[in-house]
Amino acid sequence: MDQRVSQMEFEMNRLTDQTENRGPDWAPPSAPLVMPKQELESRSSWLELADIGRLFLSRRKA
């Protein structure tokens, strides 16, 4: 996908000293990672489907 997180970014994040960065009170290591929101709803897909339907109907009329 387009929004792929680069390997370099992963490795850079790993350079962080996780033990030192542990949050208070038993928190897991602070080692952020990008997690892009994925595209699931594509209006264009539905519109494409509608286009196919319209095309089908127009051909039948013709």
Binding site: R4, P28, M35, Q38, L40, E41, S45
Partner: protein, 596 residues
């Protein structure tokens, strides 16, 4: 990494066989139905029920084909790669929400010890979404016990979210966003999960050896069941489950399933592929994605990662519902989550198979509505059929009796029942020939267990049909059932409980039988297998929730429990002795400060 892998030869062949078999079965059933209807003229309602029997039979045949594809072939574990050093950085993640803290943390302690014994280095992260402060305080108390038990300070973590946005999926996403870079792999568990360290070692080793493997799902076996219903479910999962899952694995190939727990995921793949957006519009179809696991599996496949199920990894366990009502409640949640997948059928980039899986998830619940519609259509078709004409010719001397459709209907009924029973009998025969029945109590006992399980599911099928139909109609009418926390350990139900939960089913059963008896008495005998269980629904619900000894539905995990299960029980029993005293002390005003 390329997007969307092409399925291999075995996967293509399995899909082709399953689709072909389902299509042939559906066409045959539909033709028999049409032939049976043709005797008195083929009307609109006959066409409707022929179409409905096509769809419902196709679904049954699809389930049967899963088992039949899974029967032949390898029964033994595959050869697993060795785990090599440096080991991948691994974390065992357990998202929890309003669970019993003692048993939950005792499970983690048992898993942690087992993992250490297997030579796997893994951190543990308990991710709490518990809303109640008192329950959260108990979690922290249990966490302290966990640290003492395992000596896990510095590698065992606990955090509680302020807001439980996105529920379980959001909980894991939050962990990945804040701590994901620290780990290569994450073993995702549920609060009732138990896993042997050796199983986790195999999973980690496979992920290490196969860098394009994004997610590996194991087949959890149900353990700890006590009731008739729970033990039947436990037996079915243990005896039939591996064969159905092998069929599924063959059919799905690298576009496999994720069931939300007892699985290992590559953190990088998960992060780059599985950030779930909120769907536009209000629930139940909009908002957060409820059945997120299937969507995450599809997203990983969309990103070019392999997703596989490996049913040969032994030592993966979970608990199951103990009665019909908790089973139906869980199904209500899953129904809403699965119907929401309708929004994703045409999402961009998904593999065709992923879309087909979404369609299956939807159909798993919609099929009950179709069965109910079939019964109604059959009733209407019968009462709207023209009366028999004994003298069709003008000067006919002897009456001509109309052909009955008993033969076709009987064949159809046998066909439908066969699709339900033949796969289970095939699995039984396979287990007898391979000797697998020994661990289930021998051939005779296993045979009785299979028979009892088939009878039980047959008796409960009309109840589940109505529960599913109601769930689908509720979701379609916009009722959001939410995603309430599991009520684990819910036990025996009284007849009054059964009556309160199923009086509407009794009413529908009584009304249907009375109407058919009055208007179309010929149909009564055909409706009895559906109507009688409805009439006795409260009794069935209460009776199946009663404890059952080990005489029936014996499973290997009872006669020889896995070490991690024994360890969990031992820790649980030990912790329980002083648990109440400690939690009461902690809840007292002077103790409250310690836990705040």
């Amino acid at each position: 990494m390329k997007t969307n892998r092409a399925p291999d030869g075995i996967t293509r062949l399995s899909r082709l066989i399953a689709l072909g078999f389902s299509l042939v079965a559906a066409v045959t059933a539909s033709a028999l139905m049409a032939e049976a209807s043709a005797h008195d003229g083929f009307g609109t309602w006959d066409a409707v029920r022929a179409a409905l029997i096509f769809a419902t039979t196709a679904w049954l045949a699809w389930g049967a084909s899963l088992a039949l594809i899974g029967v032949p072939g390898r029964q033994k574990s595959r050869a697993y790669p060795e785990l090599s050093n440096p080991q991948p950085r691994t974390v065992i993640v357990m998202p929890i929400c309003n669970e019993d803290p003692l048993s939950t943390f005792a499970r983690i302690a048992a898993i942690d010890r087992s993992v250490a014994g297997a030579g796997v280095r893994a951190d543990v992260a308990v991710l709490s979404d518990t809303r109640d402060d008192k329950a959260a305080a108990e979690e922290r108390l249990a966490f302290e016990r966990l640290l003492l038990e395992t000596g896990g300070e510095g590698r065992t973590f606990y955090r509680r979210r302020e807001q439980n946005v996105g529920r379980k999926a959001g909980n894991i996403e939050d962990f990945v966003r804040t701590s994901g870079s620290a780990y290569d792999l994450a073993v995702i568990l549920d609060a009732d999960s138990l896993m042997e360290g050796e199983a986790i070692r195999k999973m980690v080793a496979r992920m290490q050896a196969e860098p394009d493997l994004g997610l590996l799902q194991t087949l959890p076996r149900i353990i700890g069941a006590h009731s008739f219903f729970g033990r039947a479910l436990q037996f079915a999962a243990s005896f039939h489950g591996p064969v159905f899952t092998r069929g599924l694995a063959r059919m799905q190939g690298a576009t496999g399933p994720f069931w939300g727990h007892n699985a290992i995921v590559r953190v990088r793949a998960f992060a780059e592929s599985c950030g779930l957006p909120e769907l536009s519009g209000p629930p139940p179809f909009g908002g957060h994605i409820l059945s997120h696991d299937y969507v995450e599996a599809a997203l990983l496949a969309r990103g070019g990662w392999r997703v596989e199920v490996d049913q040969t990894i032994d030592g993966s366990f979970e608990e199951g519902p103990e009665n019909v009502l908790s089973f139906a409640r869980r199904d209500r949640r899953w129904c809403q989550g699965n119907l929401q997948h309708a929004r994703l059928l045409f999402s961009p980039g998904f593999a065709g198979w992923s879309r087909f899986v979404f369609l299956q998830n939807i159909f798993a619940y919609v099929v009950s509505v179709l069965w109910a519609a079939f019964l109604v259509a059959s009733f209407i078709a019968t009462i709207t059929a023209p009366p028999p004409d004994y003298f069709p010719e003008p000067h006919q001397l002897f009456p001509q009796f109309p052909n009955t459709s008993t033969r076709e209907i009987t064949m159809l009924a046998f066909g439908v029942v066969g699709l339900l029973i033949i796969p289970k009998l095939t699995i039984l025969l396979g287990a007898i020939s391979s000797g697998r029945v020994t661990s289930f109590g021998g051939a005779v006992r296993t045979g009785f267990s299979v028979l009892a399980e088939v009878l039980l599911t047959t008796l409960l099928a009309p109840l589940m049909l109505l529960y599913h139909t109601r769930a689908v109609l509720q979701v379609l009418s916009g009722q959001d059932g939410g995603w309430p926390a599991n009520q684990r350990g819910e036990g025996m139900l009284t007849l009054a409980d059964g009556w309160r939960a199923a009086r509407w089913i009794v009413l529908i059963g009584a009304a249907s039988l009375a109407a058919v008896r009055w208007i179309a008495p010929d149909l009564t005998i055909w409706l009895l297998p559906v109507g009688l269980p409805m009439l006795f629904a409260p009794f069935l619900i209460a009776w199946t929730s009663r404890p059952l000894t080990h005489a029936l539905f014996r499973v290997p995990d009872e006669s020889a429990p896995a070490p991690v299960v024994l360890r969990y029980r031992e820790i649980c029993a030990r912790w329980s002795r002083s648990w109440e005293t400690e939690t009461e002390a902690a809840a007292a005003p002077e103790g409250a400060g310690v836990l705040a």
